[in-house]
């Protein structure tokens, strides 16, 4: 699609991202990520011995566990686990470690909007830290459509989300920026969906640059 007529640009703001890798001593790879006030910590063990029931003879089995901060795990948390698992299965080269398991554990520290996107990004950073073979890295971006003026707001926090008509989370791969995960709530038109997806696609480049800068920082020293 040609974009020669789109000269106008609009400004969007992503919340400040803070991250530390390798914070936990026990897991093989860990990452604590904060996007604004939303904080998440992810820890990965892998490849480890798989349980006999879950062992797949020619692939690594990926087990995800998401723990919320308040109360026992609910159905929504299992849904989050499913999204993380499917995104990671697309990215991890599972044939490199047959009959083993890769355990991805995510702990919610604080939810201030955009939790699913933050957990997916933390999982990717933890996978990079653990040295698990991946076809590509992935980045998730949240956005929402405001109720009154139908504006698209990128990376909203919980206060902005209260006036949302619809909320989207997209995860993209680093090679071709294809969509590998898509989560939506609320009502929206097809145009709005495609517009939001396009915005998130462009914004994901910033998240990929963040990953790369982080790796550049420590790669030559350690």
């Amino acid at each position: 699609m040609d974009t020669s007529e789109e000269t106008s640009q609009s400004e969007y703001i992503l919340r400040p991202m803070n991250c530390e890798l390798n914070q936990l001593s026990m897991p093989d790879g860990s990452a604590m990520l904060m996007q604004g006030n939303t904080a998440v910590i992810a820890g990965i063990y892998g490849p480890v011995e798989a349980k006999p029931q879950k062992m797949i003879y020619d692939k690594a089995s990926i087990e995800v566990s998401y723990s919320p901060i308040k109360g026992p795990t609910k159905v929504d948390d299992r849904m989050t686990e499913m999204y993380i698992k499917e995104t990671c299965e697309a990215a991890i080269i599972v044939t490199f470690h047959p009959a083993s398991a890769i355990c991805i554990n995510v702990q919610e520290l604080e939810d201030s909007g955009g939790m699913l996107g933050c957990t997916i990004n933390a999982a990717c950073l933890a996978l990079i830290n653990a040295g698990i073979p991946m076809k590509f890295t992935f980045a998730a971006v949240n956005c929402m459509i405001q109720e009154d003026n139908e504006d698209i707001i990128l990376d909203p926090d919980s206060i902005q989300l209260q006036e949302a008509k619809a909320e989207f989370t997209f995860a993209f791969d680093s090679m071709d920026k294809n969509v590998i995960c898509c989560y939506t709530t609320g009502c929206f038109t097809e145009t709005e969906f495609l517009k939001a997806m396009d915005r998130c696609k462009q914004a994901s480049q910033y998240v990929f640059d963040f990953y790369r800068n982080l790796v550049k920082k420590y790669a030559n020293v350690i």
Binding site: N22, D28, G29, Y45, G46, P47, V48, E49, A50, A91, I93, F96, H97, P98, A99, S100, A101, I128, N129, A130, G131, P133, M134, K135, F136, T137, D173, S174, M175, F208, Y211, R212, V215, K216, Y218, A219, N220, V221, I222
Partner: protein, 241 residues
């Protein structure tokens, strides 16, 4: 994104140099790189390096060991069965070590190893589809440096990149430490290190030196060793008084 030797690569980056080389040369792709049709992709995050003549690999940070043939590892004996030991080498599967894979071992003369002992062994068989196999002898049947490690020392774990750093021929760490301390060390490529020195304090000091070398640049290692020496002298004089 396209990268070349010396760049920091992320999973999914394509390596520029390799694709342009003529097909006559054989290029060896080391850990961190994989081939898909005509392009070479990186699958780990790290620095892309090249050793002569044509070996490319990605130097990445990792804690969990993935078995490779020919590497020396420190294993923990977890089970004794009729003719093999089961050894935990920190990989996804436990390795097997035959009773006969020791110097001078026969069916009647079995090695004296208990559950919980440490062995320094070499990986004979290691592939992603098979259970790893260890041996404590080389191809001539001689033990050389392999075998049981005494229970007098201390075991600790560290990252694989640190092990590669200290086992590098160019690394000054052990040489410098050896100038003032007397110690025995067995570093396994699986991230496990066994150290033994004359006293408890010295053993702890050597272990601390090795762990601290992770973040120390080459120039800082000399300072690190001298610091360790000083602290040891202080504690020893403190004990004497």
């Amino acid at each position: 994104m396209e990268v070349s030797v010396g760049d920091v690569v992320m999973p999914g980056d394509t390596v520029k140099d390799i694709t342009t080389i003529t097909k006559k040369e054989t290029i060896i792709l080391g850990p961190g790189l994989r081939r898909e049709a005509d392009t070479v992709y990186a699958y780990k995050a790290g620095v892309l390096r090249k050793t002569e003549p044509a070996v490319y690999y990605v130097d990445s940070y990792q804690k969990r060991y993935v078995p490779n043939r020919g590497e020396h590892v420190v294993g923990i004996v977890t089970q004794k069965s009729s003719d093999i030991f089961k050894v935990d080498i920190g990989a996804s599967e436990q390795a097997s070590l035959s009773y006969l894979a020791f110097e001078g071992a026969t069916k009647k003369n079995r090695p004296d190893i208990q559950v919980g002992d440490l062995v320094f062994a070499k990986l004979l068989v290691a592939s992603k589809d098979m259970e790893p196999e260890l041996v404590c002898v080389d191809s001539h049947g001689k033990e050389k440096k392999l075998g049981i490690l005494s229970s007098d020392g201390m075991l600790f774990t560290c990252s694989l990149s640190l092990i590669r750093k200290i086992l590098n021929r160019n690394s000054p760490l052990f040489n410098m430490l050896a100038r003032s301390q007397a110690f025995e060390v067995a570093a396994g490529m699986n991230g496990r290190v066994w150290v033994k020195a004359r006293t408890i304090q010295e053993t702890i000091a050597i272990a601390t030196a090795i762990l601290a070398a992770e973040y120390a640049p080459l120039s800082g290692i000399k300072k690190l060793c001298s610091d360790i020496e000083k602290t040891l002298l202080l504690t020893q004089s403190g004990n004497v008084e």
